[in-house]
Symmetry: C2
DNA sequence: ATGATTTTTTCGAGCTTCGAAAAAAAGAAT
DNA sequence: ATTCTTTTTTTCGAAGCTCGAAAAAATCAT
């Protein structure tokens, strides 16, 4: 049973709404917030005044390029960049990136660390994460939150990495390790989910309430936005699109099972097939971009195993999207990652396969948008996740930030 | 942007909460509602008093079997059965059932009509629905809502049946036809979704926030509850589990495509395979239960095509559940319908297939609960859907019901 | 300088919830 | 039979929030 709404709850929600309006639109005036939230001028005035006194927001002068209209000019309101600071980590194959981000979302500093994730011990990985946070934050005052994006499956609570292709260790408890080291809340999230979050922030006109982000890379990942909320599993980050079974008893997947979509469409799978290797051969750890580019070139030029490999990859993706659409209906699809470099070869076959599925019947005219580099999306999505979760903490009135005082 | 919460909104939500608490627990006292909602005694007293004055709820004496404790006895509060009436239709192959249900969910009357749905014209089907409503409601006062459960895909708005195996006509606009004829709101919902709703009401301890209901019958259907909400597609009722592709370019499905799960696991598919027919042969319209029983008996007794048919059906279901679980994680599975009569044959192979999938890794000990008859679930879920949607209408204060007056 | 126009703040009214106290309704004790 | 206990329900004043209207503020136009 949901809890009843009390009086203070109403205020909290409306404060949250105001903060969200400012975060979304950048520098709205009080009057614009009135329109966005549907609350009255008086209420917005009161809430804005509170939030400014508490140091969460600040007045930002006449906003961008005052249009010099008649009447009292609007005063732009912005989030106070110094209201809070968050640390964002991004852990992927052989790489750990740390970024320090202010409350407005500006990246204060970023540092990329190279490390051999596959060979490292469990504790070594945890230590590396702690070191990366300590280093990026050093000498820059405190921070309020750590958000970690990982290439792997996380638990639904967002505290640990249940499984990942980048390390042999399962249940890597990044959340508790970082929370203990720094005494701030920590969230651990799947990288593809962060891509979806980023798309929603960056291109809301196209990727708003219902869409799919598919990562084509060494493996195949997915982030799914449904009804404006990130779709996660009940126990884990869910959305293991790459490990839906495309062909029962089919090719060997990196996850140890057989017939997964990834075992046909991951770059290791394309490479394996194009090079004429056995489909049950254990996948290799990494394939560089140049090699994949060469295979794509071959596939474009001549009939042969390379072309067949891309064709089969496209079929796996197409049927996968079709099966997904059978469950959730057609929605915009964004395709991100290295694999998009060969999208010209893949697309016709993806469409052909899709059209053979129940979910694909209305997608003849669907347009797939592609981006080759997933990293900026992951980092942006991760930062926005940390900041909006911080926003939620700001709801409660009477919070003291940076020494400024509440009026209460 | 979500709308801000105003004062009256708060009251509405808390009224809704009280109504929901009563509907869920049956006959709680005011004090029990206090506990369920987290609101104060004073607030519950005020809201209850309003709702009783408005005729939505009523006092129901000492509740069930007063335990004769010390102190002022609790006064049980119940929904007023005469506060509203709804008509529930259930349209399936060759059958149309109409029921009149009071505000508490008691079935006042029910009538089953036989009709040849496949042969009927579009208008004939619509007329039959209108007639069924008129007949069941005749001479019993007005009703406030019509809820239709259909064997077919509906649109996300719940107004029409987009496609159904029971009729050649698509986009059957049941909602507008009934709304125009009777001037009340109409909802049109997929039958499997209604099964899921019913399970949540009937067995909340097991089927609460996350579970799957799978209907094994002539076709294969699914209802999915996620985070306590019915999962629907963005355009349609969604959840077309039966039409996820099990084997690309495989057996011909009733939907016209090839390789769907249903084309292996629907009873027509099992029959076709067991009888040694071509897998690309057009599915027949109906197979009676006795015939399916005979096939199951054959499969139990001897190696042969019947056994192979059930085996392949089980594989399709197992891989399908596995693929579903790859997206949404393991959750309780309820299996309903005629097909459960042979579940003893199916279950081992379903488990075997499931264990080969990414989603099946944690489901070794999963227990599948089965029910042979889907009809009562569909009808109950349909009724509860209509009533809870009516509850939402009752939120607004100052509503006049059955001649009683608001105190305002 | 004055007027017009637009934004923002102020102020009192009207709801709603809450806590405390009172009222109500029963069993238990005397 | 009457009085005490105990528990439920109602009543009442206090506090908090939002709203509309009016006032104040800040700018351009005349």
């Amino acid at each position: 049973m949901t809890a009843g709404i009390r009086h203070d709850e109403m205020r909290k929600r409306n404060r949250a709404l105001v903060i969200a309006a400012v975060r979304q639109t950048g520098q709205p005036s009080r009057t614009e917030i009135t329109g966005l939230t549907g609350l009255s001028h008086s209420t917005i005035s009161a809430i804005a005044s509170d939030l400014i006194d508490e140091g969460i927001m600040c007045e930002a002068g006449q906003g961008e390029s005052a249009p010099a209209r008649r009447g009292r000019p609007q005063v732009a309101i912005a989030l106070n960049p110094r209201a809070a600071t968050v640390v964002c980590l991004h852990l992927s194959f052989n790489s750990l990136t740390a970024a320090l981000v202010d409350y407005c979302g500006n990246v204060i500093d970023r540092k990329v660390h190279r490390l051999a994730t596959l060979a490292m011990e469990r504790q070594g990985l945890l230590d590396a994460a702690v070191r990366a946070v300590r280093e990026i934050a050093h000498g820059r005052g405190g921070f309020q939150r750590i958000a970690v994006a990982v290439q792997g499956i996380t638990d639904a609570a967002g505290t640990e990495m249940l499984w990942s292709p980048i390390t042999p260790h399962d249940r890597l408890r990044l959340g508790p390790a970082l929370a203990e080291a720094f005494g701030v809340p920590v969230t651990v999230q799947n990288d593809c989910n962060m891509i979806a979050v980023a798309l929603r922030w960056l291109y809301p006109e196209r990727y708003r309430d219902n869409f799919v982000a598919i990562l084509l890379s060494h493996g195949i990942g997915m982030g799914l936005m449904l009804n404006g909320r990130l779709f996660t599993g009940t126990d884990s980050s869910g959305g293991e699109f790459g490990h839906m079974i495309h062909r029962p008893q089919g090719a060997l997947c990196r996850c140890g099972r057989r017939g997964c979509i990834e075992a046909y469409a991951g770059s290791y799978a394309i490479w394996r097939r194009a090079r004429g290797r056995d489909l049950w051969e254990k996948p290799i750890a990494d394939i560089d971009t140049a090699e994949m580019g060469a295979l794509a070139g071959q596939a474009r030029q001549e009939q042969g195993p390379a072309r067949a490999a891309f064709r089969e990859a496209a079929e796996a993706i197409g049927f996968g999207i079709g099966n997904l659409f059978a469950l959730i209906d057609p929605a915009p699809v964004a395709i991100i990652g290295q694999g998009t470099a060969a999208f010209d070869i893949l697309e016709p076959r993806i469409r052909a396969a899709l059209s053979e599925t129940a979910g694909g019947q209305n997608t003849g005219s669907a347009h797939f948008e592609t981006w080759p580099n997933e990293t900026p999306f992951i980092q942006h999505g991760n930062a926005m996740t940390a900041l909006t979760s911080l926003d939620r903490e700001m709801f409660g009135p009477g919070l003291h930030v940076n020494g400024s005082r509440s009026i209460a």
